[in-house]
Symmetry: D2
Subunit: 381 residues, 4 copies
């Protein structure tokens, strides 16, 4: 099952780490730490192997992939020995990358993306291509009537106005080209009724939003803990300090708002009420690809006794995100192969703000995921 993985933001830290990691796994140079689909509970015949994955993608920057990999090695995110050993394979992937289309009408750019996807599938004789968005977080777009109606959207795209944010334009292009779509960012992506209609029309699955890699991952196990113990959370405040490109983007108020909303959802939906407190995101360039998050939770127990929990998470976002990108590509490809259409709510385990997620509690999301994957394997066997 030869599977293309087309990364939007293909020269970013997450994409580069995903590609280096997949190549290293294929070459037997590293183990699958962090890859959920390699846990004994999920492994099986329905999923494409790492050797089955072929990478391509778009990016607006043009630093070649091998250079980006070297920079990540220098920053301690990737082992330098892997980058050296995989120089040839990285150059091959670099050759499969395409510049992000610019100029022309929105419809022209959609067509260019769809063309690149079809070409990639053809040239590499792939059974399917999954597009995964790992580019920078966008601000929420202005509402537009065409977001709600596929026919209206088709008409609007032909005009000169930017009716769709980039992440949604990529989703549109993916669906047009017959490709499943995964949004690893909090951007709009496929989250518009008109795009849902398009996916339905083409019989394609999609998944998102916003990979759950750090603070929210911890929240998704701590919030249920308080709920199951009937403890009343009074406030939950968090601050995220992050460097890198992502930090700079998220320091922009509009992108920040999208991310923060995504991060706080788990609390209200798990606890049944929204405690006081906010989540902050600050850019500290010095931290590079690492992120430090600090959360303070105050809560009340029996007879009103006040207590508190605080935690500090010091993680490398790329190292946490990359294996999940591979997991999502494999799972979405398998879902497509199995004929699944529409949003993959069973992948909520991977997301801060899973589409149609029936729960934000990690353990329940795990149960859903396990059952979903078992079904895929049963069908594949």
């Amino acid at each position: 099952m030869r599977t293309g993985v087309w990364l939007v933001g293909a020269r970013g830290s997450v994409a580069t780490t995903s590609i280096v990691g997949a190549l290293a796994l294929r070459a037997g140079l590293t183990g699958p730490t962090g890859c959920v689909t390699e846990l004994p509970e999920l492994r099986g015949p329905a999923l494409p192997s790492f050797a089955d994955l072929v990478f391509g993608g778009h990016d607006v920057v043009d630093t070649p992939l091998p250079k980006r990999a070297e920079a990540l090695a220098a920053a301690g995110v990737l082992p330098g020995r892997l980058v050296d050993a995989l120089a040839g394979e990285l150059a091959e992937v670099e050759a499969a990358l395409r510049p992000a289309p610019t100029g022309g009408s929105p419809a022209d750019r959609v067509a260019a993306v769809a063309h690149d996807l079809s070409e990639f599938r053809r040239r590499h004789a792939l059974d399917r291509v999954v597009l995964v968005n790992v580019s920078a977080t966008e601000p929420a777009p202005e509402p537009h009537p065409a977001h709600h109606d596929l026919a209206a959207l088709r008409a609007a795209l032909a005009g000169p106005a930017e009716v769709l944010p980039p992440s949604s334009r990529y989703a549109y292009a993916a669906f047009t080209a017959g490709c499943p779509y995964v949004d690893f960012t909090p951007s709009t992506g496929a989250r518009l009724p008109a795009l849902a209609a398009l996916a339905q029309e083409r019989g394609l699955p999609y998944a998102g939003h916003d990979g759950k890699t750090g603070e929210t991952l911890v929240k998704s196990v701590l919030a249920p803990m308080f709920a199951l113990r009937h403890l009343a959370v009074r406030s939950w405040s968090g601050v995220n300090l992050l460097g890198g490109g992502d930090g700079a983007t998220l320091a922009e108020p509009a992108a920040n708002a999208a991310k923060v909303a995504s991060k706080q959802r788990v609390l209200g939906e798990t606890l049944g009420y929204v405690p006081q407190g906010d989540t902050r995101i600050d850019h500290v360039a010095e931290l590079g690809d690492f992120k430090t998050a600090w959360d303070l939770v105050t809560f009340v127990g029996f007879l009103g006794t006040g207590m508190r929990l605080e935690f500090t998470w010091h993680g490398c976002d790329s190292a946490l995100a990359a294996p999940l990108v591979l997991d999502l590509a494999r799972l979405t490809a398998a879902a497509h192969a199995a004929g699944r259409t529409g949003p993959l709510a069973e992948l909520a385990f991977f997301f801060k703000d899973g589409i149609d997620a029936p729960t934000h509690a990690l353990a329940e999301q795990w149960t859903l995921l396990r059952e979903f994957v078992a079904g895929l394997h049963a069908g594949a066997a």
Copy 2:
């Protein structure tokens, strides 16, 4: 369903808080925060109501219960207004307490306890009495052949030697008197083959060990998080600073060892390997009834990237333990009413080291608990 709750250590902080809380709930003076059995998912007809609970107990100290309650109010553990409002009810419970039997052979002391339990049941016309051990943690006892055989144990008890530690002597007495037994401490309690045989013979259920109130509670959700994400935990070190009587007891090396073993179990059994690092317990009298625990977890993600999580838990052990004591008394009484015999593995949710616990992951323990309680309610309806 009038249910007796007989507390060993009845004048300790946990017991006092449990009693004041139950009386306050009965009087409508407080809400059920912290009571797991009052969550919508578990509430129902099979459980005795708070008004159905009648308290008694043994203790080796003789400070009257109302005085202990006042001291806890002064320390910020109990609201002073509750202690004032419940003065009459507390005096009634005080009247039902008995001095812990001393002197005579072990068999004499067992008989005295069994007599007190039977008297309590008779005088208050109770359907059943559940004995809950909330006394100070004991060192692990010397192994003894009589621990493995009920007949040998009966014979040995008649002699002058101390063949059983106090917690196990209470379990023996409870079973003799037809009472279910719950061990909220890490002491030996009913965890001896001879006592299991006795419970079987008398058709009695029992539960334990070691109420999961703080650091281990957090571990029981964080360890599964690492496991489900396929992240490799390299070290997990913890320090517990606690004041109060419990702190002083646990600073004793032997009791400390029992507790620490109980605390670390969750890691090995959840992760499938034992990371480096120890759990320390230190006594800091200044902290009073509060406890501060700090844990450092170092872990490795994709491609070997090192990361870390630390958390600080600042909790009031009595406020966390007391509602669980009430939960356990209600659940064990209902299990007894339903004819359950032997260890209640489904109550692992409440314990650091649940007897026969099939899992140490909190979310899975919750599923087991919910199904167990649903069964009780179905039978009771």
Copy 3:
């Protein structure tokens, strides 16, 4: 040396705690913990005793002082027994409070304040009155030419426009009435050339700004530690979560900006460079009179090795500020008695942003303070 202490914001948490504390010290009901002027190195004849202090003040709210004290006792900031024991004395102070003047021209309000101060001095036969601003933090005012020239300021005040922010109007009134002025907040206060000229003209000392009670206190010892060890601080990020009225005020962006600037000054001036990172202030009502601050410092050592320090401060602002208010009133009164005029740079020990502070390192500030106080005592002996 009977000394009046006139508090602007006299019914706020800090003022109430200061008053209750001074009364309790006078009555021998508490010890001087937190009072710097009671350290053996500073104690002496030049300072008015606690029994010498007489309290008055203005406030815009009218909840009586005894009620405020009871509320603080309920919140755990004051011991209830003190509030009960001092009921009579608190009622006396309440009788000395005046409503903050409103209406009329700025000059009218200045005159009303000056009148209240003179009346207070006369009625209580005081040697002097020190005005201490402990009211809510103001936004920085619009620049105005009259701020730079006393004659222009006098002319402008007679007009209808609000040329001065309230804190500066109080400073103006204090100087007019012959009273030294202390600004415990980051507001403008006496920090205008025209007001400096007025203080000079009247021969009055003044001090400020922004009492150093929590996170900045810690910074003022940690930043010198890094500097003295020649370690390069790369980033210093902080978040302050605080409830109470102060928290709500500081969540306003303009007041927040004033406070944050005051908090960051210590870093640049101590280290000689400004590391990356910001200080955030967020309002979390749930925290009440307590504040939690978390700071992350990343630094680099020999040969470029990256390291980090984080700290969490959980303090009660009123309990930390109140004894310093008493210290400042005593010290400023003594400086006035000794004939000191103009800004008291030697009091930088007490402030985040001391006027003319020659250093932001706490230990050096201590040396200055000790020498200053020794001079006062020598003069008084």
Copy 4:
């Protein structure tokens, strides 16, 4: 002023980092971050330059220095490019190292060390040699009458019994060979009356004990902060998690005791009372050359309000210690050149437990150091 630096434990992490760093400074390949003697306040003509330093030493292990440096580079403690660039210089230093003498009587081993020191001085035409002990921490030795009397010690050394621990034997040998001695560890070193007499007799200065690199450094600024603010510290608990050889040594109860005593001294001497709480040292091999320390301080402010501070220090011990080793070698050499004899109390700034330290407050220690160095420069000019 050609100055020999003879390191006991010359192939350990601290020594290796010191040597690589000094060579890199000499070659202009790195800056003096972490070197206190390169601060503008201390720099000057009395101190030997980095180019003046010549390294030698003893060790019981025989992994060559260049190999140790490579291992430290792999662990992220040293930059690999430095180790590569300095390969030749490191090989030269390696050639100057001598195996730690074993066998023979104590007097024989003393003589062998003294011989090595003299040979080193002669061969490299050095003005003087400072011996710095950076070997593993020893347990406290059994008391012995010869420790108190030089003549008795000389007699005892000739016998077969081990009357001195290794650190003291090296101090004895250093003094015999006319070399100043610095103890960077908490071992006994020169801290025996008989050795003080020997240093006096030979007119030699010495310094120690126990380089202040992490948790205690932070304590030495925080404890004075509480004292200067008249806040009452109720408990101060700390845990140190460390890997590397030092961690393993310190996990030994006897060495641990020596270290912990050294660490707690600052509290009692700075606060004037000893708060509750202990300092723990645990070995966590996974942490390698890094150390994580966590401290919890509970304290009481005005009117008895309870508050708390906690901090986490994540440092690299070698990177923190190495520049101080160079500082101490330079300062002790300059003191020797200036004719100073006996303990150098003015170097308390560098030590957890400075010999004859008049204060444990870092800022006061800095003042002493600055004055001391100014005196040296004045004498040298």
